[in-house]
Symmetry: C2
């Protein structure tokens, strides 16, 4: 690394990332050789839009934004090759603060089996973190591919991130379990890879919420997705938070984004068997929440009736 | 693509990019299979830091930021596989404006033999464009690798981008040739690949200026780089602009960044032959401007004396 203030900052970041940061400062990051099809995704987190500084530590901001980007690799069944992170920060941001931010990005990368390979530092009016994740997949799974008759399934439980978000906005401390889901979402890399290899017809990650993401699946696949809201597996802290704000828990959870669980379409014939094998392999639930039909759009059903709540409009 | 305002904007972008934009809107962009080592680079351009809206059209902003990122692939001798672009823009930015910006990004990608494969849209206080470029190289060339005795060479001519920048800052219209160098720099992809295959020991692109970039080469390679400033090939518009501001043209050019030409170290024995073959192959000059010695740092020489101008300090 050369002389100068920018390189001093890169040196502080390299120190925070430890042995993982061998190539920082060169023109390009090296990601090694790769079998399969190369895939990439980029995802910006902006202060005041995606987070507030008084909600999260800098390390958590780096972790969360990188985990969110890695989740896109999970959604297409890819294995990460590496992460590069562009950071724009106010001029008075210290080397120590940037190192904390990037240490969090490194935590997220490491927990997904990869490392930070490079990045870019710029000045900006507010803090913006743009991780780009690069991976490889033998057969990338897309949002298109679901067919009428397929079941729609989700991994794990949802609504936890929204429970934390509502608490942050109300200026109260979120429940620890919900906070963890918002602050350090876990990209479902192993689960996505397994599902891609075991019959996923279409897949995406839950970033906008179950109903909104089902609408994306429907549009890309050219089907109508019927969701049985009462089947949605709800995070326990989301149940508590929903009852506090007098909302129906499954609707509260269905409207919450940023859980970064996976939504996957499986054939009617194989779905139950695949789900049982998935649960045995990963120790995590795979729950059927809906069905694809001929048609278009999403049809949210609750206790046998089509839901037409005002609150669903901004998803459609 | 699903319903909603964000997807409406993505639709407008896909239309502007034409047939190149097949996969936009999915979780990951697909970049195909790749021989060799995967490399990546990310580079943010921020309004008010890297450009002003009254200097450039939106299409030019997209073009320039993407070309600058692609130049990093040239600097390591890589072939582009694809580009993903994260854009943060004020909430009142129209679909049409975003489509123009991305059409410019598409122009730059196409001129480097690749396409825009995906991206991300967010709100932000000012316009920020973060292209990430992914490529492949059989043997990526780094900033480290130059040895004492090697010659230091640059492609093409330099100083054009600075000539435009000085004019923009003085609120006068830059000369068209200089403006073109600032607005639509050409990443030297074919040249970088050729140099990587024909003996480049170390290479980087001229983003910070000849003297500052020579300091990076020196630090990474563990050598001292002596630059003969009078050997620097200066863009004709930079000569004119330098004389206008009463600067010595080679010093004006040496301090100017963002030309995106390549700086390469070649052995003393092979340099002249490689340069002749390079010029025959690419119709572009490769000019020797310096020599690596044992030691460290950069030693800018002008007419036989070591230069110790105040203005060089912020590079070191």
């Amino acid at each position: 690394l050369g002389p100068g203030a920018e390189f001093d900052r890169i040196r502080a970041i390299a120190e925070a990332l430890g042995a993982d940061a061998a190539g920082l400062g060169d023109d390009c990051a090296e990601l090694g050789r790769a079998e399969g099809i190369i895939v990439a995704s980029t995802d910006t987190s902006v202060e005041h839009v995606h987070f507030e500084r008084n909600w999260l530590t800098l390390r958590e901001i780096g972790h969360r934004s990188t985990a969110a980007a890695l989740s896109d690799l999970a959604a297409c069944g890819a294995t990460p090759l590496g992460v590069v992170v562009a950071v724009a920060a106010p001029a008075d941001t210290s080397s120590q603060e940037l190192a904390e931010l990037m240490a969090g990005a490194g935590d997220a990368a490491r927990s997904a089996g990869t490392t930070i390979k490079g990045g870019d530092l710029s000045r900006g009016d507010c803090l913006m973190v743009t991780p780009t994740v690069i991976g490889t997949a033998e057969r990338p799974v897309h949002r298109a591919g679901a067919k009428a008759g397929d079941g729609v399934w989700v991994t794990g439980v949802v609504g936890g991130a929204r429970a934390a978000l509502e608490a942050f906005r109300a200026r109260i401390a979120p429940d620890p379990g919900a906070r963890e889901r918002f602050v350090a979402p876990v990209p479902r890399i192993a689960e996505g890879r397994w599902l891609a290899a075991h019959g996923a017809r279409a897949m995406l990650d839950l970033s906008d919420g179950v109903v909104a993401d089902a609408a994306h699946l429907a549009a890309a696949s050219g089907v109508e997705v019927e969701i049985q809201l009462e089947q949605i597996p709800v995070h326990p802290d989301a149940v508590r938070e929903a009852l506090t704000v007098r909302a129906e828990p499954v609707i509260f959870a269905a409207k919450g984004g940023e859980d970064y669980e996976l939504m996957v379409a499986l054939t009617e014939a194989d779905g139950e068997r695949i789900a049982a094998e998935f649960e045995a392999a990963h120790g995590r639930t795979l729950t059927r929440i809906g069905t694809c039909h001929r048609g278009q759009g999403v049809r949210p059903m609750f206790r046998g009736s089509r839901l037409r709540l005002q609150g669903f409009d901004h998803f459609q």
